[in-house]
Symmetry: C2
Subunit: 259 residues, 2 copies
């Protein structure tokens, strides 16, 4: 397929590489400023760097909009494409309807569920791609594109995608914060960071293989009040962490499948 | 070395196998009830199953006490060993002093920092072992034993070990709970569990390579109040999770190195 990409940030960058590696042709790359589009286009075989959202002269079966959430609506309003193109955004948290203003095209969502940074290569085959589209023909075209670069392609409508995002906030954003707290506490006690890494890795591996509620360990689930009180005492210089410790302990003890 | 092991649970089981594989001789295995000690002794080349804590006739350079925390003090009081033996417990949360009652022996701590289950093999070389002892000679003997089965051996006194444990509660016990919440939310939205796994794995990998505070992502750190309000609304049937969401969001925004 011929694909044009709007946005030359982390997502656009990795998508362009993965699509070309799968045999597709990236025909154009747009970004607001020149350096990113020039740099990305130079990495690709036959992509034109585009300085305008008027893409009427660009061959594209699919246009992927990989810009920050806050910029999607403005791109949708300004974009011009050849009739019959499918325009899809790549955001996990924005509804399909945010593309309603796009003219002469079917619209969809093409959301790669992963965190990207330019410096780090991505095994795209392992990245789930979640799709949605306004009609069946557009959905089929996105499915064909998605399955050519990923093993895991699912149709997930906007409503369910919001729940997925909420779930990811707990599993990823909040988890990262707890790992940050843990690292801070190690630092304050002059303990080397690497000591906990095997335990963290094993904990995550176990949580992936089981329902985490059923493999919960630690003082909260054991209701070991001596250790809990001692930990709260050790955190007395950190009232914010004390509050978190207390609430997470209560939550573990109240969880539906807590033993 | 000759090693006797008190306790035939998960820790005793894996320690015995790792020590034998490293060329040591496990000479005796004690447990309160017969089946575990018989089963473990049968797996080992030359271990006697022991039904009493009188080990005066058992050759042991080191006796490792791998029983639940609450049972260590009672074992220490009842244990009898040959003079010159080093007796070490394997607990992360108990001080060295809990072995003060042991007669005719130097005492220590030999703490493998990992979560064990019998069914799952352990790459012991990757498991950090934290040591402490009442005197230098005993410490040296424990160091020799530990370095023969693990690449990572550190001397960590009881006070620092408590901080390590607190840090592990945040990094492992609390993290596991958040992964449980995430799974519950996916289930309630009828979304497949596997969709989030690549994102979780990448999040953890990133948190290991950086200070997690500096790679924090998500609505909290972006101060994206629209998304935060929407998530709180979606959690209205779960007041406990709403409270956790709010407090974790505040904590991310207040963290010392939050951007």
């Amino acid at each position: 397929m011929n694909v044009a990409i709007i946005g030359a940030g982390n997502v656009g960058w990795h998508l362009a590489q993965a699509l070309q590696a799968a045999g597709h042709t990236v025909t154009g790359v747009y970004s607001r400023t020149a350096p990113p589009r020039e740099e990305l286009a130079a990495q690709l075989k036959s992509a034109q760097p585009l300085s305008s959202l008027g893409l009427q002269s660009i061959n594209a079966d699919v246009v992927l909009v990989a810009v920050p959430d806050a910029a999607i609506a403005a791109v949708a309003a300004a974009l011009r494409v050849q009739p019959g193109t499918v325009v899809a955004h790549t955001s996990g948290s924005q509804p399909l309807s945010i593309l309603a203003a796009v003219q002469d095209a079917q619209t969809g969502v093409f959301y790669p569920l992963q965190t990207f940074s330019k410096a780090k290569p991505v095994a795209f085959k392992q990245v789930p791609i979640l799709l949605e589209a306004t009609d069946q023909a557009a959905l089929q075209r996105l499915q064909e594109l998605a399955t050519s670069i990923s093993h895991t392609v699912e149709v997930v409508p906007s409503g369910a995608r919001k729940h997925l995002h909420l779930s990811a906030v707990f599993a990823c954003n909040f988890t990262n914060h707890l790992l940050g707290i843990s690292r801070q506490l190690l630092q304050e006690a002059n303990l080397p960071q690497h000591l906990l890494q095997p335990l963290i890795q094993e904990t995550i591996a176990k949580a992936m293989q089981h329902d985490p509620y059923t493999v919960q360990t630690g003082p909260a689930i054991r209701r070991d009040q001596n250790v809990i009180e001692e930990h709260l005492h050790m955190l007395q210089q950190h009232p914010r962490l004390q509050k978190l410790y207390r609430l997470l302990t209560q939550s573990i003890q109240a969880a539906p499948e807590g033993r």
